[in-house]
């Protein structure tokens, strides 16, 4: 299909619009990156994921819904 957007591109665009949440997640890891354990930054990550999921629905939904 010509002009088809690859899933990774959609993913990248959606993530790119969540830079604030991404950076707060990164800061949480950076605070002590020698001692990272599972779910250490779960709250920040969930915020990031929520933001990403919202952005993704906006990108993938048909254009009339966006307007």
């Amino acid at each position: 299909m010509p002009g088809r957007t690859r899933p990774i591109d959609k993913f990248a665009t959606a993530v790119g619009r969540c830079s604030k949440e991404g950076s707060s997640y990164g800061k949480c890891i950076m605070a002590d990156y020698n001692n990272v354990t599972k779910d250490k930054c779960i709250t920040e990550f969930l915020k990031l994921k929520d933001c990403y999921l919202v952005r993704l629905t906006i990108i993938t939904s048909p254009s009339q819904k966006k307007n």
Binding site: F11, A12, S19, G22, G26, M30, K40
Partner: protein, 354 residues
């Protein structure tokens, strides 16, 4: 029934996935310890074929290979002789041959660099990638002969064939490096150079660390997403073990800035340089991990202008096949004057003249 007789009739893709042990092999210098298979050659071959099928995308990511090939050509031209027959081992898309047709960066008026090179044999295991640029104009400017290898670890050439063996950015996928280097030594004529460059050391350490931290936090463990690479310190030993003389090893860092980590991963995929480690996790990387890694990459390594740097550490190596006529290093203690005095005198002289 003899298995060998059937092999020719099996379709190429299936043939690749059959074990090679059943076929005859050239006798090569045994490397000593049995080889451990770290990289899946079949998987690597498939990645390269797939990447090269998308010609546009594949040409779009030639920036790294072209730059490295150009630097390698400069090293070849530093040797003041004519090379009638050169082997380009692991040629990818013949980037080396193409760079040879361009003039040198230092002396743009001297004509193409290929003046000093006769025939080039470009050998690679991936046919699609090798023939990707076969109909571009540069092919007419240089005598190039493309040969598809059955595996990238066996060189089907007679001993003492080539006046130089070059290898640009393909040796980091080879499992048995000592054996391949020994074969390269074998196909060289006496007193001829092997000049190679491979990815090594801390290449892509930014991506590596971000993925590790992301996986540790998301999944509580680490999987292999980037290859283990040879270190600068290992190269000298490897070349020596393969029987090379007069070794030179040097390191060059190329830092490329990408808009985000996905652009880097997409480019690596288009180069055919995706993960092919045997112990890799099968299937795609989890979205959660990618999401987390992007945030960490940006925070830990990101530039101020919002781009993400990726470091490629290139290890250049030069070794010479021994020959009785070759110049030998002088014995220890036979030096007539101190190099320190000589260099300092030079510096002082420069200062005075200014």
């Amino acid at each position: 029934m003899n298995f060998l007789s059937v092999r020719a009739f099996i379709p190429p893709l299936t043939r690749r996935t059959l074990p090679l042990r059943t076929t005859r092999r050239y006798a090569v210098q045994a490397a000593g310890a049995p080889t451990i298979e770290i990289f899946s050659q079949q998987h690597k071959w498939m990645q390269k074929e797939r990447a090269a099928k998308d010609v546009e995308a594949s040409r779009g990511v030639d920036y790294l290979r072209d730059e490295v090939a150009s630097r390698l050509c400069e090293r070849l031209l530093d040797i003041n002789r004519h090379f009638p027959h050169v082997l380009d081992l692991g040629a990818n898309a013949c980037n080396l041959a193409r760079q040879l047709t361009l003039p040198s960066v230092d002396s743009p008026d001297a004509g193409p660099r290929s003046n000093r090179v006769g025939k080039i044999t470009a050998a690679d295991s991936s046919e699609t990638l090798l023939f990707r640029d076969a109909d571009l104009p540069f092919n007419r400017e240089v005598d190039i002969n493309r040969e598809v290898l059955t595996t990238s670890e066996l060189l089907p050439y007679e001993a003492n064939t080539f006046d130089a063996v070059l290898s640009s950015l393909s040796m980091h996928w080879i499992n048995d490096l000592p054996s391949v280097l020994a074969q390269a030594n074998n196909v060289l004529k006496p007193d001829s150079p092997f000049i190679g460059v491979m990815m090594g050391g801390d290449s892509l350490f930014e991506l590596r660390t971000s993925l590790q931290l992301a996986e540790l936090e998301r999944r509580g463990g680490v999987a292999t997403h980037t290859s283990p690479l040879a270190d600068v310190r290992d190269i000298g030993g490897l070349l020596q073990r393969a029987g090379f003389n007069l070794l030179t090893v040097d390191v060059d860092d190329i830092v490329v800035d990408y808009p985000d980590s996905f652009a880097l991963m997409k480019d690596l995929q288009a180069m055919g340089e995706s993960n092919a480690v045997m112990s890799r996790e099968k299937g795609a990387i989890q979205r959660d991990v990618l999401l987390a890694a992007e945030g960490i990459y940006r925070e830990l390594h990101g530039n101020e202008d919002g781009t993400l740097p990726a470091t490629f550490r290139l290890i250049y190596m030069i070794g010479w096949k021994p020959s009785p006529k070759q110049a030998k290093p002088l014995e220890r203690g036979t030096g007539m004057f101190s190099i320190k005095d000589f260099l300092e005198k030079d510096k002082k002289g420069d200062g005075e003249s200014k």
